[in-house]
Symmetry: C2
Subunit: 349 residues, 2 copies
């Protein structure tokens, strides 16, 4: 390869100024004379100078690395990919770069990547925590003055900011919609009860039932893995109840798809024979058959909000824990039985 790196000293020599002046130019200081500035810039271009951020960070105390760490629990899931894109958008336009890692729901992996990010001197962290993450896990970071924003899944007890969607309101509107369609026996299917998101969504379900003047029955709540397979399992348990439900709100879209599978296996057609509503509005929801009625949360929006919040804290130098909930909206498609027939024009974009 080529020889050694070009440093500010090389530039200084070539431009006939001191390294301090070059540094000033690098930082866009107004102290330097226009003529000098352009000469220095010209030399830099000519010599192919590359700024060494590592060296700079070393001198400038901690928080100036301009790296934002982003940790998501499942990048394969387009919901989180969108989230990452949202973060990237604002992070990038603020002149930061993003360090993205995927934990695949592994808590160990999460610990590793966060440690690694810390070693690299991130100025802030956005994390969608892996399941069963200990609230104390991010203590050391905030203690070191590195702001942390938790997104999607909140971490009760952790003294960090968070951005979550309005799970409760979303579930309420789903239940409300089903009630308006005349359903009385509405089940809540899927999800692990040990998560904060589950609690929120369940609470929304309860208030929705209450608001619609319907009774809350313990046995209409069937938890399961928040996956397609979990959905199959959950509907299997719900459909054999003496007092069969006629509709279900699901913990998320994956569960909802599983519920549809399970219904079909029992010769019931989702939409016409049984109403199904999901949560998240993942990309497949509109292309599915029947198209899934679901609560749409805007993952890019969450990402952007989270990033904004984080940047604010980085700039403020002080991390006031703050919680923001982003709005959601019910998207009515076919699986709730409200609309028959083929996919609508609007949805197919």
């Amino acid at each position: 390869m080529t020889k050694a790196r070009v440093t500010v000293i090389d530039i200084a020599k070539a431009a006939g100024v001191s390294k301090s002046t070059v540094s000033l130019v690098l930082q866009g200081s107004s102290l330097v004379n226009e003529g000098t500035r352009s000469k220095v810039n010209a030399v830099m271009r000519e010599l192919g100078y590359v700024y060494n951020r590592g060296a700079a960070n070393l001198r400038q105390a901690g928080a100036k690395s301009r790296i934002i760490g982003v940790v998501v629990n499942d990048l394969t899931n387009s919901f989180f990919a969108e989230l990452a894109v949202g973060v990237d958008t604002v992070v990038q336009s603020a002149g930061f770069v993003q360090f993205l890692s995927n934990t695949s729901e592994s808590i160990d992996r999460q610990r590793e990547v966060v440690a690694s990010m810390r070693e690299h001197g991130i100025s802030g962290l956005i994390v969608s925590p892996a399941r069963a993450t200990d609230a104390a896990d991010f203590k050391p970071l905030v203690a070191a003055g590195i702001p942390v924003v938790v997104v999607v899944r909140n971490l009760p007890g952790a003294k960090v900011s968070s951005v979550v969607s309005d799970n409760q309101a979303g579930m309420m509107s789903a239940v409300n919609h089903l009630a308006e369609l005349g359903h009385k026996r509405i089940a809540f299917l899927g999800g692990f009860p040990d998560t904060a998101v589950f609690d929120d969504r369940l609470a929304g379900y309860r208030s929705g039932m209450e608001a619609a003047g319907l009774d809350y029955h313990q046995e209409f709540v069937v938890s399961s893995a928040p996956s397609r397979a979990g959905g199959v399992e959950a509907i299997g348990k719900a459909i054999v109840l003496a007092d069969k439900p006629t509709a279900a709100v699901c913990f998320n879209d994956a569960v909802a798809f599983g519920v549809c599978d399970g219904l079909r296996a029992r010769r019931l057609e989702p939409g016409s024979d049984f109403a199904v509503v999901g949560f998240d509005d993942v990309i497949e929801a509109q292309a599915a058959v029947p198209a899934l009625t679901t609560v749409s949360v805007d993952p890019q929006g969450i990402g952007r909000r989270g990033a904004q919040l984080l940047l604010k804290q980085i700039n403020a130098g002080k991390a006031e824990a703050e919680t923001v909930t982003t709005a959601v909206r019910l998207v009515v498609r076919e699986s709730c039985g409200a609309r028959k027939s083929v996919k609508s024009k609007q949805d197919s974009e």
Copy 2:
């Protein structure tokens, strides 16, 4: 917050050794006495020491940062999200971290993020280039001894390694399948002719036609944006030809979906009235109606291969440009008319 950073010197003092010894411990050198090592480790834990990689990189010439830059053109597309996950898997288990950025097909953005990554001292770069990327854009990197691996879209003329799927073979098998189903007039729809991928896929189409003993007609090749809208446009042009095609292979799945839309708008049912085959096997392909017959490429696999290749070059210290093509396979579903009716068991996984 708390006071200053804990440094190697603090550790040394507290453990009663010299900073050099601490450094040795950090590097896991076999030179240090077991007893000393464990004492030092204990002190590090106790004081909450965090390794400062930036400082280390400063000393250790260039290529040791253990950061891999990953640049994709569209993270929203689950194809590329999967790719990133594939990369992350191997990168992470090799003890590197990944710096992921999204360019949204913007060449300027791409230039920015690559520059930024360089400043941060990446040890290598994996990139799925934005459309119309200049092959010379990565010259400076390789000149600086930073290995670059291009994935998915190759960059003819750039002296870098690449990992691409076997576009040609994939298209051939698609054409072959349609020919076996009895189609004689098969169109090639969608895609921008200025890309290498287009050339490859088109070449596959031509050889496929030839292999099946069918004539290649210039007017059966209709290019368009590689998007859903582009698909609508392309089928619109193809369906009005005097000698109407009865089937089409599409540049990618998005185009294929658009083609289906366009067919329906003309009261033709994809699958029964006209056979459609896509390329990529995006996640929506199996859930669509009709389920899309398509050429499945394994994006995670490409990511893994790319990462392996890159790590190999990093370790070798020498970047021998190398091209690997990964295998693809045709997934027969409904849109080609080979199978009627509802979705199969296998596909719904």
